[in-house]
Amino acid sequence: MNDEIKYTDDDLAAEYALGVLEGAERKKAKKRVENDVNFARLVSSWEEKLSGLNHEFKEVQAPASVKAAIDDKLFAEPVASDGMLGLLARFRIPILLAVLVFAATPRVMDYFAQQSAPQIVYTSAINALEDYQATFVALVSDQGLTVSQSTGTKPTDKDYELWLVKSDGEVVTLGVLSGALNPKGLEIAPDAKFAISIEQIGGSPTGVAQGPVIALGELTRV
């Protein structure tokens, strides 16, 4: 029998969770935890396995000044960026994973750049319909509408077009995701839905969806 043990991702996850790696090895593993869901799960599973050792850590009361400093860091100024990510946790569905991807998109970065904290009115997880894979996340705030794709890849010769489907059946285009969405002056009722269809570049020329509707999402009032 070969005495050499095979070094697997699980071994690396164990070493990272235990904390014995250093330098470039630790940095690399840390990056993988951030970017690789499967690896993050392995690490998390090891953290759980080793958690029986946590009773070795005794409780020690921290001085009150620490909590004051934390509150100062977090709440002294308006927190513009974190609020939005937090709201998405409400969905409790695979979108949670997509939030990480979502946060890195240019559109959201623009959003973060706005200093005054936007008031989010609705969020929507626009989930793929049968036979399609693309999912999206929409946020409607007092400063505009943001939609980001969470999973799936857009065909290069097509555009995704966003539609507002009102409860009375009326359907209004809100523009293509690659362009400027136009929610200005738009009234969105809580029982409306978002839909996304695949259209020619620039969107449907007729104002009515021509391509297939691939995803649908209800609104969640914040």
Binding site: V20, N54, L74
Partner: protein, 192 residues
């Protein structure tokens, strides 16, 4: 200021979910319920009170920022919080200049003085004692020095190199040693 009833049992996972929704009261309760444990973790690993206080601030800022990720984790809430604290402490230790294992042990007594003998929190006694017995049993199946190496890494933050120095064996031997130990540990924990 929100008053926390000590007798009340808090549902930490639920509180984390509320923190993900930017609930500051829930954050205050999480802090009041868990900060003593996390401070203990940081003190033990960093072995420096001022640095541990500084690290505790950063850890809770992360908890606030990363609460939405908790739902994607399989770990229980307290393990998740402790993992954040441990990882942060280890990152700090690894970026220190020329850490020595001698320095690690010399201050342990000082920290022990600081570590007040407190009764375990309900979280500790209810969830972790079962886990603790399991891991104690499985660590008992390892050779003494191997179990000790795993503990030194987990509790005191020893790196591979520091462990190799401590046991006076080559680095690669240490790696093989520890990987085998972790594999055995995993098998035992999954069986028991």
């Amino acid at each position: 200021m929100k008053r926390v009833e000590l007798s009340k049992t808090y549902d930490i996972p639920e509180l984390i979910a509320q923190v993900a929704l930017r609930d500051k009261d829930a954050f205050d309760v999480i802090y009041s319920q868990t900060s003593a444990k996390l401070f203990g973790v940081l003190l033990r690993l960093l072995n420096d009170r001022a640095e541990a206080e500084d690290a505790l601030q950063e850890v809770y800022v992360r908890v606030w920022q990363k609460a939405d990720r908790f739902a994607t984790q399989e770990a229980n809430a307290m393990s998740w919080l402790i993992a954040i604290a441990r990882n942060h402490a280890i990152d700090r230790i690894r970026t220190r200049k020329a850490p020595t294992s001698a320095a690690k042990t010399s201050d342990i007594d000082d920290v022990a003085d600081v570590v007040a003998d407190q009764t375990p929190s309900p979280e500790d006694s209810a969830i972790n004692m079962g886990e603790a017995r399991r891991i104690d049993y499985c660590m008992g199946k390892l050779d003494d020095d191997k179990a000790d190496a795993v503990k030194s890494a987990y509790i005191e933050g020893y790196s591979y190199q520091e462990l190799a120095d401590k046991y006076n064996i080559p680095l690669n031997t240490m790696r093989t040693w520890l990987r085998r130990s972790l594999k055995s540990l995993r098998e035992c924990l999954e069986k028991n």
